[in-house]
Each structure stands twice: as C-alpha cells, then as structure tokens.
C-alpha cells in the first residue's frame, strides 16, 4: 500500500532526496560541533592556549552557520516534497473519482470522499514531512553519536549502547499498550459527536417530545466513557517521560562514575586517556542520542496514526470503475428506441434484485410515463439506459445496440437524464446551462429555457442569464432549479431524455406547458417521465407501472385504466377529488 501511495511523489522525488541529504549534512556538523567544543575545553581552556581557542572558536562558528544553512535547506525541501506529495495525492484521487461509475460513487459517501481528499491527505502530508526530515536524521544522529562516543572512549560508550534496548523496549511497551485504548477513545469520540449532531438536527424533535434529560443522560454516559478511557490510556502514556528521565539520569551517573575514574587515572591528560572536556562531550552525545531515540519513537507513532488515513486514501486510489468501454466501442447511436431484454438489477450484485425480469420495448420518439410507489425502483430502471449502472442480468438496448457496446461518452451525450437529486453549481445561469453544450450560443440557451418554461423567471432576475447561482442552487426555488436542470439537459439535444421526478416542485400548469413544448419541439426524442403526479403522465404514449421492482402494467393510459389496479388507484387518489365532492 505504501508503495502505491509513494507512486504519487513523482516530480517531487528530487526534493524528497535532497531533504534527507541536507539533513545528513546537518547531522554530521551537529556531531562535529560537540567534538570541537571538547577540544576547545581540553586544549584551549585547560591549556590556556588563546590562539587555539580563537582558531577552534571560529571553526565552531563556521560549522554552526553551515549547519544552520543545511538545516534550513532541509526544511525547505522537506516542505516542498511533502506539499507536492499531498498535491499529487489529491490530484490522483480526484482524477480517479472522476472515473468512478455511479456504483463506485455510491460506495463512498460524499462526506467521506471529501474527508479523504482533505483531512486524510493533510495527515499523510504531515507524516511524510516528518519522515523525510527525521527518519534519516534520528538514526543518523544515533549512529554518529555512538561512533563519536566510542572514539572518545569505548568503555564508557558501552553505557550508551546499553541504554538503547532499555529505552526501545520501554517505548514499545508503552505504545503498544496505549494504542488500542486510544483507538477506542476515538471511536467513542465519534459516538459523542454523533449524539451532538443528531441533537442539533433533531432539536425540534427533542424539544417537542421533551426529551432533553433523556439526551443529556445519553451524552453524559458517552462523555464519561471518554473520560475513563482517556485516563486509562494516558496513565500508560505518562510513563514515557519518567522512563526517559530514568534512562538519562542513570546513564549520566554511570558515565560520571566510569569517566571520573578514567580521568583521574589519566590525570586529565588527553594523551593518557580521558579528560574533563571529553566527559562533557560524552554527556552531549548521550543527550543527542536519547533525544533522537525519542524522536524515532514519535515518527513510529505518526506512521501508525497516519496509517488509517493512508488506508482510506488507498481505497479511493484502488477503486476501479466497474464500467468500462468495450473493445470496439460504437460511436453512433442510431435512434432513440429502448429495449429492456429480461433485465434484472441489484445495486450490489447480489441476487436480491430490486428490478426483476423487465421486458419492455419502446419506439423512438415515444413519451413514456413511469409510475409506482416509493421504493418501486423507478429510478433504478431508467438509470440503466444511460448506463449509469449495468444490468445484473439481461440486456438494455438503445437504438438496437446493447448499451455496453457503446462508447460511454457517446451514449451519455445521446441519453440525458435529469436526476432526481439534481445539482446546480456555483456560477452564472449561462455557465450552468453550458454544461449541456459548451459551444451553445445565447440563442440556443434562450430557446431551451423557453422549452423548459424557465425563460420567464430568468428574465425577471436583475442579471437575467448572468444571474449568479450559489453553491447548491440555494438562491433559486425548487421549481426554478428543476426547470434550469431540464433546460441544461435539453441543450445536449439528446435522442433520449429522462426526467426522474424532475417537475415535482413545478406547478401543474407549467408542468403541462413543459410537456406540451416537448411534444411540439422535440417530437423525435424519446422521453421518459417519472412522476408522482398522475397528471404528468396521463397524456404519455405508454405508461410503465412498477411495483416492488416488477412491471405491473405496461400500455397506454386508457388500457391501464381498464386493466391495471394500481394505476387506477393512483389515478383515483389524485384525480377523483378534482371534480366531485365528498
């Protein structure tokens, strides 16, 4: 998985290599500096050798400046590498999402995709930067410190070597015990946030049922759970610092003990053995090494933590669209005839079909109404035509050809669907409409808007066709939005037009005008109209009555009125009251 993610580093490979390179340079200098300092004390201060002091002092200053430069450069390249990696990750994910089929999209919720593209990438970015900067630094620091320590005095340096496993085992024990508890804490946090969220959305329900106390109790239970879990986890984590201090202090005492013996026997003469200056360096190396061990353990933790994010990103990258063009795709749709040939369909590919055994034949240019109760799979049926989903069993034919044999883009340019959950994007009305056809000129736009009965209200806006639509189309009413969406679809001049409950918020009169315009202006286009309102479909050529995923009736309205119970019931529940009185 990590390798797959790393493939997104691409053009930032150079930066990713330069950063650790400069880090290593910095480390070398940082290790040399204490050595120079030891010399300064031993040969300079102790020997009262002023020229030497100046000489070493200047060298030290130069080293510091170099180290500073290297450090800054390392930081710069690390930032570049990480930011670039994040950019590419976002890009790769986003591009892949664009390839998703509808069933791929269904698999991830919108909010989860957004989180993956933002928060998760940010986590990985931070971890990557940390790794580039410190993953080399810390081990290098540890190794160099050890080497230098051994060069000073191998016996005393053994102490350093001895504490590494103690610390490492300690860290591993602490983290491995605390980590599962933290995982639980975060799950519980989700629960808490969920309660808050539900209460925010449902505050009217809570208040009208007078359930404030009930909710309080629910919240406090979870809150208590978090409290206890957190304390439990932190109780383990706080052993970190004492452990660290314990190791530092113990090694200091041991080093002090051994070194003083050595220094005394060498009479503090560098030629004979150990000196006080070397003791100071030794302590410096000890501190450097331990600090870096701690850093290493932190990186380790960060990788573990960002693992969840990495997995979530990888899931998106790995998701392969299940709709593919055939080997020799057809680029021309002959006409708008549609044929369902023994079609069964289920969203997850299981055999619990939400559509079963649909056999329907529709001629090009016909208007087809589809009615049926909530959950009778009306939308599922029409979504198979532009191949938003593939039929699980059977075949869907458009213009006499299996939809799977068409080039996807060709098919979707000819079969346009106005979705039930339709969306306008932030931008002007014109910009939104041009989604249908980027080259459309103003006359085209006005023409389709007139067809969709949208021209009237657009003309009433102060900015007319340049009126800015807010994100999600919040500044137009539901009925206006639906009409704009229809206009957008018409601009494509499709052979088949599908309206999935697209006029529900439009009043019956306008609804009738739209249908009339369709019949007059685009008679050759096959039109599918899903509607709750019987009046929207009663003048259709054919009507499909769906009931729990099965075709319950198919025929002209007049035929169905005679033969189909459901159709009659729906008709009566809506139309009857119009001309009689109870």
């Amino acid at each position: 998985m990590i390798r797959r993610l790393l493939a997104s580093v691409r053009e930032y490979k150079t930066a990713s290599f330069l950063a650790p390179l400069f880090v290593v340079c910095e480390v070398i200098l940082e290790v040399i500096i204490p050595m120079l300092m030891a010399n300064l004390i031993d040969y300079g201060i102790n020997k009262s050798n002023m020229p030497y002091i100046i000489q070493i002092g200047v060298t030290l200053v130069v080293c510091c400046l170099c180290s500073l430069t290297f450090g800054a450069l390392a930081g710069k390249f690390a930032a570049k590498a990480a930011a670039g990696f994040a950019k590419n990750l976002r890009k790769d994910m986003y591009y892949n999402v664009q390839n998703f089929s509808f069933s791929n999209i269904d698999k991830f919720s919108t909010s989860s995709l957004v989180t993956r593209l933002t928060t998760d990438v940010a986590n990985v970015q931070n971890a990557y930067m940390m790794i580039v900067r410190t993953a080399f630094r810390s081990p290098a620091m540890i190794v160099f410190s050890l080497i230098m320590a051994f060069r000073i005095n191998s016996e005393v340096a053994l102490v350093l070597l001895g504490v590494i496993p103690v610390l490492a085992i300690g860290f591993v024990l602490i983290f491995s015990n605390a980590h599962p508890i933290f995982e639980k804490v975060f799950k519980t946090y989700d629960k808490l946030n969920n309660i808050v969220g539900e209460n925010l959305h449902g505050i009217r329900v809570v208040k009208s049922f007078v359930r404030e106390e009930h909710e309080d109790k629910k919240f406090k239970n979870v809150s208590q759970e978090i409290y206890e879990l957190f304390i439990k986890a932190e109780k383990i984590i706080i052993f970190n610092m004492p452990l660290m201090q314990f190791v530092i202090y113990i090694s200091m005492i041991l080093i002090a003990w051994f070194s003083s013996h050595l220094i005394v026997s060498a009479h503090n003469d560098p030629a004979l053995g150990m000196t006080t200056g070397q003791l100071t360096s030794m302590i410096s190396y000890l501190m450097q090494m331990l600090m870096n061990l701690m850093m290493l353990s932190m990186i380790f933790m960060m990788i573990i933590i960002s693992r969840a994010s990495m997995e979530r990103i990888d899931e998106v990258l790995q998701e392969v669209s299940d709709l593919k063009n055939g080997d020799n795709p057809i680029y021309k749709v002959k006409d708008g005839s549609v044929k369902f040939n023994g079609v069964s369909f289920s969203y997850n590919g299981s055999d619990k079909f939400c559509l079963s055994d649909v056999d329907i034949n529709i001629k090009s240019g016909e208007t087809v109404g589809i009615i049926g109760g909530t959950g009778s799979s009306k939308s599922s049926l029409v979504q198979l035509i532009p191949r938003l989903y593939d039929a699980t069993k059977g075949k869907v034919l458009v213009g006499g050809v299996d939809v799977r044999d068409y080039d996807l883009e060709t098919l979707r340019n000819e079969v346009v669907m106005v979705l039930q959950k339709n969306v306008l994007f932030s931008g002007t009305i014109k910009e939104n409409l041009r989604w249908g056809n980027p080259e459309a000129n103003d006359e085209d736009i006005v023409r389709v808007c007139k067809l969709a009965q949208a021209d009237d209200f657009i003309e009433k806006f102060p900015d007319k066709y340049d009126t800015y639509i807010e994100q999600g189309g919040t500044n137009v009413s539901g009925g206006q939005k639906q009409r704009l969406c229809i206009a957008r679809a018409l601009l494509k001049k499709p052979k088949i037009l599908i309206l999935d409950d697209s006029t529900s918020a439009v009043d019956t009169k306008t609804d009738a005008l739209i249908r009339k315009a369709f019949a007059e202006e685009i008679p050759d286009t096959t039109k599918f109209i899903i509607a709750q309102r019987i009046s929207s479909v009663e003048d259709a050529d054919k009507i499909i009555v769906l009931d729990s995923g099965k075709v319950n009736g198919f025929g002209t309205p007049a035929e169905l009125m005679k033969s189909n119970k459901i159709y009659r019931e729906v008709y009566e529940s809506q139309v009857k009251g119009g001309n009689d009185d109870e």
């Binding site: 201060i45 002023m50 002092g57 510091c64 500073l68 450090g71 710069k76 930032a79 950019k87 890009k91 986003y94 999402v97 998703f100 089929s101 509808f102 999209i105 919108t110 989860s112 995709l113 957004v114 989180t115 940010a122 931070n126 930067m129 933290f182 946090y189 808050v196 969220g197 539900e198 959305h201 009217r204 329900v205 009208s208 049922f209 007078v210 404030e212 909710e215 978090i226 932190e234 610092m241 201090q245 314990f246 202090y249 200091m252 220094i263 006080t276 200056g277 701690m294 353990s297 933590i305 909530t374 959950g375 979705l419 994007f425 989604w435 994100q471 709750q532 529940s573 009251g577 119009g578």
Partner: protein, 659 residues
C-alpha cells in the same frame, strides 16, 4: 512530547472528519498550523482565563497545588543535574587528579546523593503528569457536559440562528484545543518558566559576565522567532484560505458527481481542480518551509551561543576577570543549553494557548446564551373522574388534566381536551419584521385544521408558536382555555405530538426510535403504533425487523419510510393534539392514502394541525386556512373554498404554483 503526538493527531482527524460529515463545513478541516503558525492574534481575554482557571480551582485546588510543587521539584532537579557536572569536575575529579592515591569514597557518596535527587525528580515528574490527567480530563468532561446540558436548554431560536457546523465545532475543535492546552500547554509553560528562572539564577550564580552573553542571544532568538515565525504565520493563513477553497470545490463537485458524469463534464472538473490544487500546494509549501526552518535556526543559534560562551568564557578564565573556573565554564555551557530549550518551547506553546483561549471563549459564549425561559406553573397531571370532579392521581389513566394553582392557594383541574385558539396573534422572528399578522384560529377538540400556502407564508411559524418554540409578539394563545404562557413548557409540549417534514431519527434500533415518543412504551405498543402509521409492513421486511439498527441520517431507509417511522413515533406518544408539518410529503400518494386510513383512526378524537403541500392531503380537513404573506386570506372547508373560487380554487385546479 510524544504524548502530544500520540493523542492530538488522530483525534483531531477523527473529530474533523465527523464535523465535515455533519456540517459540510469548509473551515473545520483545516489543520492547525505547525510551529510558528499563527493565524490572527486574538487578544487574551483575562475573563476567559479566569473562568477557565476557576474550572480547575473549584474542583482540583489541592491537586493543582500539588502539581505546581511537583513541577518546581522536577525543574529544580533538572537545573541541579546541569550544575552537577561542574561540581563533579571542580570538587571531585580535579582534586582527585592531583592526588597520587585517589580516594573515590567521596565521589561515590556524591553520586549516590545525585541518584536520590534524580529519583525525586523522576517521581515528581510522574506524579504531576498523573495528577494532570485527572485534572484535564475532569475539567474537559465538566465543560463538555455543561455545554451539552446548556445547549439542550437553549431556545429554538438559537439553533435557527446558528449553523450546526459552528455549534458542532465547539465540541470538536474548540474542546480539543482546550484539552491540549490544559494537559500540555499549561504544565509545559509553567515548567518552562520555572526552568528559565532556575537556570537563569544558576547562570547568574556561576558567572554573570557570561549571563550577559546568553541574554544577548535570547534577544537574537526572539527576533528570529518574530520574523521567520511571523512569515510562516502569514503563509499559514494563506494555506488555510486555499485549503478552504479546495475543500469547497471538492465538496461541490463530489456532491454533484453524478451530474458531472451524466454530462460527461469530467475534464472541465479536473481543470479547475488542478488550478486550485496548485494554489494550495504553493501556500502549503511556503508555510511549512518557514515553519521547518525555524527549528534548525533556533538550534544553531543555540550552538553558536555555545561557541561564543566557550570563547568568552576562556578569555575570561585566562585573563582572570570574574574568577571563573574551567568547571564553571563547562557547567555554564550546560546551563545555557537548558536555557534555550524552554524558551523555544514557550514561544511554540504561545500560539496554541492563544488558539485554545479563543476556543474557550467560544465555548463560554455558548454557555452564556440565555436558556429558554419557562415561568409556566400550570402542569399536566394524570387524572381520574370522581363523580363529576377531576382528581389528580399517580397512575396512567389515559385521562389528563391541567393542574392550575391559583394565587389564593386553591387549585383547579381542567380536563385536557385539545382546544387551541389563537387570538389576533402577531409574530416576527425579528421584531422589525412581522411575519404573522392578526392570526385568528379556533380549533375545537377533534377538529382537523389545515394550513395551505406558499413557502414563507407562515404555516410552520404558527405551529412554532403553539408549542412555544417561539413566543408571540402580540395577541393570545389559549389551550383548553388556559393562556399557554402559564403552562409549563415541558407539559405543553408533551401534550402536542409533532411530525415534521425533516424526520430526525436517532442512532439506535427502529424500536428505540418509535419508543422515543413514550419511553416506557412496551414493544406491543410500539408495534401497534407502527401498524397505525402503516410502517409495520416495511419494518417486518427488514432483515432484523424492529431490531434493525439505523443511524441519525436513516441511511438505508428511504425518506418516505423515515416519515412513516416518525409518524409511528408520534403515535406512540398518544398526544391529544398533533401537528403534522409536511409529514407525508415524501410518501407517494398511493401509500399516503393507505397511511391516511391509519392516520384517520390515529387522528380520531384529536385536534390535528396539518401543513401540506399536496392538496389531496388536506382536502378532508374540517377547516382549511389559506395563508399568504402571514395573513389568513381564506378559511373554510374544501367545498366552501372551491365554491369561493379564490386562491384555494386556483391552487386546486393547478393554475397557481406553490413554492
């Protein structure tokens, strides 16, 4: 340090994830800046600090005091340990070096003493962290609980005027920064300050000449922090802005992904994304670049300081000014190292403290919001009939009465019937803009009263007034003859069943959700209610039936099914008055007519207020009120209104668009 990394990271992530899921918030996903990342500098409000500290002191005074002691002990040990090297070299090693037969007994003793001191330090460090856990978690739990409890008591107005995303972030982001501040920043800053003071004293004690050098370097460090940190802070703001843009774009596009696909608009979507993504990269690169540079720069200034001190120290020692020894220089060097570290730490913590205080302030603002006032004194009690008098009783009798205590000490009981009358009611959500004018409504027990009108005509507003989600500006509302201002809100609402268009279900089983209407309802009662709402059929078809788990958004259930559930939930509560606000809008007409049959029996004997878009839903009402711009323009039953040939007639014949 590692503690911070372990905790802070993942839960900020989880928390933000959740926030964005709930609120579509754009700003929540922005990770906080690294070291030196300072957004606008809000002022530290001393009131907020005081209030926050009062949470600590009111419950954890002793413990907090102990923590302070422990921190002092631990810092002192730290300083001693830096000074130890000097003592070791000057007082033990150097004299021994001179001796021909060195006696190590004294050295052993000194080291043993040091070991004891260190043990104290370790113990103190452990103890203060251990205590800090219970303090910080305890305070947080209290803040959380109080915040939620208070939130529940706020009037609906608050929820209508604040976005859910904002409120949500009090629980997530703000509470989180607060936790980090209490458990990490406060002790660390305190620790650092003590260390700085102690080390400074140690340095002065060792050599005040060299101390001047150190002070000089501290000054340089400050300047660097200000410049580099400030620059990175500026870019971090930029990063947050571009992140917000990218988030917004991704959200818009992914929400409309299916439309993108239907229109084969993928390429254009990519193009725009690339542009925004590149911008984000630029600002993230710049921001982190400066943040990353800060640490090596600081560290090397520390090294530089080390070198300069060594040189100056050597010069001093050689020239004999300030009588400085070799051991003194060595230990001063050590001290100077312990000095720059806490300074760097404090400068880093400073930002997070400011951010946490800003969060605390937001939380306190929520807590200071005024609760819903309830000065009602008329309560709802179970009653039974004794002769022709109503008597209060304990058990559930199915008969309810308003218990009305009077000023003269007497109490009267009025039977709960469901008679609701509005007299000349005016109302506006804001005083300047009246949305309801002069509304008169008489709903007799058992009547079905319908409201019809365009969005914004004031239909829902009327129901908001009846259950006192909002209070009227002028006029009077009487419930069974009692002014509703005198009725305790909880009792008033208990007597009103609400079914709203937005069906808000809660995480739990379907059974739990139905039982929400009446917490002590038996399974049978719930199932009965579900049957009444026509929900039983689809529930039985679910794999786990009534035990099917659902979450707040209802996920697997269709909008229509959720509406059926919320009708069942209201049915089980069995209230004398019901308010149905677009309760069946997502149920298809055929199912609706089935539900209506159940609803009719449900509504039997109850006063029902119905708001519906679909006229077939309201046709059989006793009274239909047509509202326009906050006024009732027509009233009467279906036949009368049709005969009137007014607005209702136009609506009914489809000549008019309801929006």
């Amino acid at each position: 340090m590692s503690k911070a990394a372990v905790k802070a990271k993942p839960d900020t992530k989880k928390v933000t994830e959740n926030t964005s899921a709930k609120t579509n918030g754009k700003s929540e996903n922005i990770p906080q800046g690294g070291p030196g990342g300072k957004p606008q500098m809000p002022k530290i409000d001393s009131k907020t600090v005081k209030r926050l500290l009062s949470y600590i002191f009111s419950h954890y005074k002793m413990r907090f005091f102990l923590v302070l002691i422990c921190i002092v002990v631990s810092s002192v040990v730290n300083v001693i340990s830096s000074m130890f090297l000097k003592t070791l070299i000057d007082s033990y090693i150097m004299p021994l070096v001179e001796q021909t037969n060195p006696d190590f007994a004294k050295l052993t003793k000194a080291l043993t003493t040091m070991a004891c001191v260190y043990a104290c330090g370790i113990f103190a460090a452990y103890l203060y962290q251990r205590l800090m856990i219970s303090i910080s978690q305890g305070v947080l739990k209290r803040v959380r609980d109080e915040m939620f409890e208070h939130m529940q008591s706020l009037p609906i107005r608050y929820f209508d005027t604040h976005t859910h995303g904002d409120i949500m972030s009090y629980y997530t982001n703000d509470a989180d920064t607060l936790r980090q501040m209490i458990s990490q920043s406060i002790p660390q800053v305190f620790n650092s300050i003590i260390t700085i003071v102690a080390v400074f004293c140690g340095m002065l004690y060792t050599s005040w000449y060299l101390t001047i050098v150190v002070v000089l370097f501290v000054f340089i460090q400050m300047v660097v922090v200000k410049n580099v940190g400030g620059r990175s802070g500026k870019y971090f703001i930029g990063q947050q802005q571009s992140l917000g843009k990218v988030n917004g774009y991704i959200e818009e596009m992914i929400t409309g992904q299916k439309v993108v696909k239907v229109f084969c608009h993928e390429e254009e979507a990519k193009e725009e994304f690339d542009k925004l993504n590149e911008e984000l990269y630029e600002s993230a690169y710049n921001a982190n670049q400066f943040a990353n540079m800060l640490m090596p720069i600081m560290a090397n200034i520390g090294n530089l300081q080390y070198a300069v001190i060594a040189i100056v120290g050597a010069i001093l020692a050689l020239s004999g000014i300030g009588t400085i020894t070799v051991g003194a220089i060595v230990s001063f060097l050590q001290l100077s190292k312990s000095f720059s570290m806490p300074i760097a730490q404090v400068s880093q913590q400073f930002n997070s403290i400011i951010m946490a205080l800003a969060g605390a302030q937001r939380i306190f603002t929520l807590m200071d919001e005024e609760s819903e006032v309830d000065d009602g004194y008329v309560t709802l009690v179970n009653a039974k009939r004794e002769g022709d008098k109503l008597v209060e009783c304990e058990e559930r009798t199915g008969l309810w009465a308003w218990k009305h205590p009077h000023g003269d000490g007497t109490t009267t009981y009025t039977e709960l019937k469901g008679d609701v009358r509005l007299f000349d009611v005016d109302f506006g959500y804001v005083p300047e803009k009246i949305v309801l004018h002069n509304v008169k409504i008489y709903a007799e027990p058992g009547q079905k009263v319908a409201f019809v009108g365009a969005t914004g005509a004031g239909k829902t507003t009327i129901t908001n007034l009846i259950n006192r989600f909002y209070d009227i500006a002028d006029g009077k509302i009487r419930y069974d003859g009692i002014n509703i201002n005198k009725i305790k809100k909880a009792d008033l609402r208990r007597s009103l069943g609400m079914v709203l268009q937005e069906t808000n279900l809660f995480t739990g089983s379907i059974m739990d959700n139905i039982r929400y209407g009446k917490l002590d309802a038996t399974d049978e009662e719930c199932i009965e209610a579900a049957k009444l709402a026509n929900a039983h059929d689809f529930i039985s078809r679910l794999p786990d039936g009534y035990d099917t788990m659902i979450d707040g958004t209802g996920g697997s259930l269709s909008q229509g099914q959720r509406q059926l559930l919320s009708i069942a939930r209201a049915a089980v509560a069995d209230p004398p008055v019901m308010i149905l606000d677009e309760a069946t809008s997502s149920i298809d007409t055929r199912t609706e007519s089935l539900v209506t049959k159940g609803m009719d029996s449900l509504m039997h004997g109850r006063t029902v207020f119905v708001i519906a878009h679909r006229l077939s839903t309201v046709k059989n009402s006793d009274v239909i009120m047509v509202l326009e711009l906050g006024r009732i323009i027509e009233r009467g039953n279906h036949q009368q209104l049709i005969a009137e040939k007014g607005k209702y007639y136009q609506l009914y014949t489809g000549a008019f668009e309801l929006e």
